[in-house]
């Protein structure tokens, strides 16, 4: 089975959505981290400038800061601020052990320091293998400094990212669903013009190919595509016209010399001494001329069928009568064949009498030619549910294995050694098939388990108007 275009489109949309979500996550994280770091520095600066008078009392300081930065994300980690009094840098007493190390580390301030608003210095770096953020006044003598361990920020960030990811998991199905709906709608919109063109083209048949107005592009963007199909249609139409003209021209060009040939041969037969050898030879030549005419007629009929220009002169034909007459004749033709029949009366088929007569005769001729001696032929005609079915079954010997598949091939004559004994071209059954198709009937040939051959013709019954 062919892959579905829609399914392929859905898969692509889902893959693209996943890539976009993942890329968004990585990029956002990268930029957000920078922004959050800047933000924490800013807040630490605010804390330093606004609440430095409460520096001695940690609780008072935090209350002051939290009152200012109410609702801020980083006020949550202000509890982890390490407050150091820089004025006591030189003193050993009264300074916490943590501040002791931090205050004396000058490399830290030299590594990544940024001057902010002219009075604050912000920096970020390593002290004793640990990541720190810090802020102080430009004038170090003013003293107070705020320090914060980097991993406190990282933990906060991780909590934020976890929250965001959880949120994404809840949103994702809705997002994908909406994407699929969007894809469905887009597919519909995109496929619609193609469906319109397809509908237009499906109305084209061999007989309507030359109607140039039928193919139209529904939108400007599809004009090139329709143009390609239209060119194809025109080329096809030309080919059909040529094929039709060939059948008609060939018909005319062949018939005239055949008429002359036949006319003169018949004339000569008449003029030659009665019963002379020359007359006998001329008769055998006349037989060959008849054969030539027959071949020409058959080939022309097939070429007309191929060019779709086989016309039918439809009238109601009593198939039962036609078969009854044929069976009656068959009794007198073949004494070595047992002819049996079961013919339903008054089976009426609306068809071209000449073509159908040829069809039935060809089927019968085949049943006789490829029979055994003594052998039998059984005709059966039934009708029901608006259709009739005609089967002609015959005994046979040495049935070729590929008979059912190849019987309708042109110039197929079954087993070569047997075919040589039979006077025929191998065109009869292909003509039958074309005639059946023309009348919306079906024709098949099968070999039964009892080694008999059955030709089955089934077609619509004529509806009384």
């Amino acid at each position: 089975m062919k892959r579905s275009f829609k399914a392929r489109l859905y898969l692509h949309v889902i893959l693209i959505a996943i890539v976009v979500i993942w890329a968004n996550r990585v990029i956002a994280q990268y930029f957000l981290t920078d922004q959050l770091e800047a933000r924490i520095h800013h807040e630490m600066g605010v804390a330093l400038t606004t609440c430095s008078e409460h520096f001695e009392d940690r609780d008072a300081f935090l209350s002051c800061f939290k009152a200012i930065e109410k609702g801020s994300l980083f006020s949550n980690i202000s509890d982890f601020y390490v407050l150091c009094d820089g004025a006591k840098r030189a003193e050993k007493s009264g300074v916490t052990p943590a501040c002791q190390t931090l205050l004396t580390n000058d490399d830290f301030w030299r590594s990544d320091a940024v001057l902010n608003q002219g009075q604050l210095v912000l920096s970020h770096g390593l002290v004793d293998q640990q990541d720190w953020y810090a802020v102080r006044f430009q004038n170090r003598l003013q003293g107070p400094e705020i320090w914060l361990k980097g991993h406190q920020i990282d933990e906060l960030m991780l909590r934020v990212w976890a929250l965001r990811d959880r949120n994404t998991i809840y949103v994702l199905p809705t997002l994908l669903g909406m994407l699929l709906l969007l894809t469905l709608y887009l597919t519909h919109v995109m496929l619609k013009p193609i469906t319109l063109i397809q509908n237009n083209m499906s109305k084209l048949t061999a007989n309507t190919l030359d109607r140039s107005t039928i193919l139209q592009a529904p939108f400007r963007e599809f004009e090139a595509l329709v143009q390609v199909f239209d060119d194809l249609r025109i080329r096809l139409s030309d080919s059909f016209t040529k094929a039709r003209r060939f059948a008609s021209d060939a018909s005319h060009e062949l018939r005239t010399p055949l008429t002359i040939l036949r006319g003169n041969v018949e004339r000569l037969i008449h003029d030659l001494p009665m019963g002379s050898d020359a007359q006998i030879r001329m008769r055998s030549m006349s037989d060959e001329v008849e054969r030539l005419i027959e071949i020409t007629e058959k080939l022309l009929l097939l070429s007309r069928a191929d060019a779709n220009s086989l016309m039918q002169d439809s009238t109601d034909l009593n198939l039962s009568d036609l078969l009854t007459q044929l069976i009656k004749d068959a009794h007198s033709f073949q004494s070595n064949l047992k002819i049996t029949s079961a013919i339903a009366p008054n089976v009426i088929w609306r068809c071209d009498k000449t073509l159908v007569r040829q069809l039935v005769q060809n089927l019968y001729a085949n049943a006789v030619h490829y029979n055994q001696s003594p052998g039998w032929v059984h005709f059966c005609l039934t009708q029901g549910e608006g259709r009739f079915q005609l089967t002609i079954e015959n005994s046979a010997k040495d049935i070729p294995v590929d008979l059912s598949e190849r019987a309708f091939d042109r110039f197929y004559r079954g087993d070569a050694s047997h075919a040589r004994q039979v006077d025929g071209l191998g065109l009869g059954l292909s003509i039958c098939l074309e005639v059946a198709k023309l009348h919306e009937a079906t024709l098949s040939l099968s070999v039964t388990e009892k080694q008999t051959v059955v030709a089955t013709l089934s077609g619509p019954l004529s509806r009384p108007d």
Binding site: R255, T256, D287, F333
Partner: protein, 236 residues
């Protein structure tokens, strides 16, 4: 019936056909059947000859130089020409045949044809023009009743079966012409394949037997020509 035959033989036929070789054997064949044939080989001359009105029947080819057969016929019919016309054409498709009849043709004979077939069509067309219903076909001592299928040969009267009647009527339509078995099968049995049968010989033998029985030594009018076929003797 005799009267019809006499009138048939006196017929003046105009043949409009540009293919010289076809015209040649048609003229020979029709002359042999006793008709008086005039031949022209292009459309314009043909139209002039048709309008001159000196003919009893026109045989008209379609593909003609200067003026094609269909146009010729249409113009002639518009001008009031009522002479029966048989169209002769290599175009055998239904639309062409219908076109012929629409233009006012009385019959349409597709190529390739037998001259005998043409003679039969001429007779049929002329009989349609003559309102008498043909009951019998006669040829000197041989008379065939179309309705009862009774045949009379000198003093012998016999009833023929459907096929025997068709076969004898077919031969009587072209006396003297030799038909092969295949040709007889095609015209009498209407089959276009070789059924590997001697049904024609059997049928001819049956007719001969019926006619010769008690005919005071008159040989049957059907003659077998060895290796060639069967014909109705002219002197029959």
């Amino acid at each position: 019936m005799k009267l019809i035959q006499k009138r048939m033989v006196d017929l003046k036929i105009l043949l409009i056909e540009d293919e010289g070789k076809i015209a040649e054997f048609v003229i020979k064949g029709l002359s042999a059947a006793g008709y008086d044939v005039t031949h022209v080989d292009d459309g314009e001359l043909g139209l002039a000859a048709v309008l001159a009105g000196a003919h009893d029947l026109v045989i008209l080819d379609v593909m003609l130089p200067k003026l094609n057969g269909f146009d010729l016929l249409r113009q002639a019919r518009i001008a009031g020409m009522t002479t029966p016309v048989i169209i002769l054409s290599a175009k055998v498709d239904l639309p062409d045949r219908l076109m012929g009849f629409e233009m006012g043709a009385d019959d349409y004979l597709p190529k390739p044809f037998f001259v005998e077939e043409m003679v039969a069509r001429i007779k049929a067309v002329m009989q349609r023009k003559i309102p008498e219903q043909v009951q019998q076909i006669s040829l000197s001592h041989l008379t065939l009743d179309v309705v009862s299928h009774k045949v009379q040969w000198f003093d012998v009267t016999a009833v023929l079966s459907q096929r025997e009647f068709s076969l004898l009527a077919f031969l009587m339509r072209s006396p003297g012409h030799i038909f092969s078995r295949q040709q007889i099968l095609k015209h009498v049995w209407e089959i276009n394949f070789d059924p590997e049968t001697n049904v024609v010989d059997v049928c001819v033998r049956r007719i001969k037997r019926k006619l010769e029985r008690g005919s005071n030594g008159h040989a049957s009018p059907i003659e077998s020509v060895r290796g060639v076929g069967y014909r109705l003797r002219l002197e029959a």
